[in-house]
């Protein structure tokens, strides 16, 4: 059996694309004890991937030149040398950008399809959704009646964060780029307001118009000047959730945050976090997310790119803001 692989060829200086990756085909080696051979079905495309392939990798070990690109995904077990896993099982794990990964069983999880469909496990039950769940509720401490502003609100994490705010009876304003994403946020998801940052010359003023009394929680996926504009509009006791900073991971010039004073209010709390720190609460979170999906209160638009070959293209789309919703690659039918 052959494994179609996409490996890292060169580190990007800005937005990654096909020129930074190499494709090849290798025979699949025999399984060792505790391993599974999986056929990849879906691969998740996430902003964190950019830091994995940068030279100064951040919180997690980077991908070496020549290595298969790291990625989370879903697949079907073809062969197994592990108890508790059978051929045909649907599993979630670190598939990487390859058609036939060998996964360690102890790092792999069987999908519980009673919680949602395979596609739900790539979307509103997936890692992006868990990130939104812990970010809004635990890190942000959002309370009913508060005002939540979410940047990159039409993105993978942002859509879920915004809907959690609605479910928790808050006033929710999204920031997104372009009329299509903005329409989706208000008309499909039902947000109270939306700011098209591409159409606003003064983002701080636009946020002020949308939140005349300031915001209680800012869920930041973007960083840079958008974070500064939000910091100018905080209420007393506001919380800033530093989830991502997609604008800065590909910026060639770093942007310095100016509004770290008392501009927006007092007793401001700013926190970053990693979803993996909440690993022992994933079950609790997925039970809640599943109940919301079944109740019709939580959905996620998936932006599906077909074909494993197109994973490098898809990664570039993410940093150009070309996706609406959670970006995934469909590797096999």
């Amino acid at each position: 059996m052959l494994n179609h692989r996409i490996t890292l060829k060169a580190r990007p200086s800005a937005i990654p694309g096909p020129e930074h990756f190499k494709q090849d085909v290798m025979p699949v080696r025999p399984l060792e004890a505790g391993e599974l051979l999986v056929e990849t079905m879906y691969i998740s495309i996430d902003p964190a991937m950019r830091s994995w392939i940068s030279s100064s990798s951040g919180y997690t070990r980077g991908v070496a030149i020549g290595d298969v690109m790291r990625a989370g995904g879903i697949g079907r077990v073809l062969r197994t040398q592990a108890e508790d896993f059978a051929t045909g099982d649907l599993v979630q794990g670190r598939t990487g950008w390859q058609s036939h990964p060998i996964l360690r069983a102890r790092e792999t999880q069987k999908l519980d399809l009673s919680l949602g469909s395979i596609e739900d496990w790539m979307g509103p039950l997936g890692t992006s959704a868990l990130t939104a769940y812990f970010g809004v509720r635990d890190v942000g401490g959002l309370k009913p009646g508060e005002t939540l502003v979410v940047s990159a609100a039409a993105g993978g994490v942002g859509q879920i964060a915004a809907q959690i705010g609605l479910i928790d009876a808050c006033r929710v304003i999204g920031i997104a780029g372009g009329p299509e994403k903005c329409r989706f946020l208000t008309q499909t998801l039902g947000l109270h307001g939306v700011i098209d940052y591409k159409a606003e010359p003064d983002l701080a003023a636009a946020i002020r118009r949308a939140c005349p009394d300031g915001m209680d929680v800012y869920f930041d996926n973007v960083g840079g000047p958008m974070l500064d504009a939000a910091l100018a509009n905080l209420r007393t006791d506001a919380r800033v959730v530093l989830c991502g900073r997609i604008s800065q991971t590909v910026a060639t010039e770093p942007y310095g945050i100016l509004n770290l004073g008392l501009q927006g209010g007092k007793r401001i709390t700013m926190r970053n976090f990693l979803v993996f720190d909440y690993h022992d609460r994933y079950t609790e979170a997925r039970a809640w997310l599943s109940a919301q999906i079944r109740g019709g209160r939580l959905q996620q638009q998936l932006h599906v790119v077909d074909g494993l070959d197109n994973a490098p293209l898809a990664l570039g789309m993410l940093f150009r803001g070309e996706n609406t919703g959670k970006l995934i690659v469909r590797a096999a039918a």
Copy 2:
């Protein structure tokens, strides 16, 4: 009776000085019910004063042109139209820069000299000390054995913050400017280490040498590039206490913070605060501070400038870093 007043004449663009103030003498008006006539003894000179006289005043209403400069101080009651206050009582209140303020009794507090001397009430029992107490313990959540770094460590708030760290069994590193302040911090106060920022071309590297494993709490009185250098040296779960940003209150060019990513660690919490929010816990804090003073574990170097006339000069000294310790003006013997 005559009141010697110092009023605001012009708003400074950078460091304030005598040119921004006017001195005059006015007769004292008769007291109304609930008022006290006080003879000022000591006036506190604090970084927050700079924001009170800037055009875009921050968290508190600014001082208007022509108004007496606002300040906290200690004085002796000369006349009283308020129950509970007698002639000769020593009180703390918003004296302002004037020799004979009229204070509202309900905004004025009698000194409890069982807790410490008059000078202690300007120093380790004063508002700067309360700021350090709540900043280190409540906002910073400092725990025994952790590493605390304090900027402007030889200043009014910094000295107390650093000593609270020592009392709470932490490793304490101070940042200060010049050999005299640094010697004071290590030899007199007993800090574990000190960084002379004026002698260090690369502050982030100097902090790294002093804290090879990073810091758990950064108590920031300075802001700007020093904050950025500290943010590069945070441990996982670190807390950043944004207490002041004296470098930025007088900066002509605003400095943008670059290290708001994951440079230093994860689960970083950054908080600003105002000591006034802890008003109902001042008694608790002063009881603790008093016990430390009596036990010989807490002291404060006072930098005394003589003469009410010199208050504008003293304010300028603060922003040029010319004081070692809590800066106060002695208005009368």
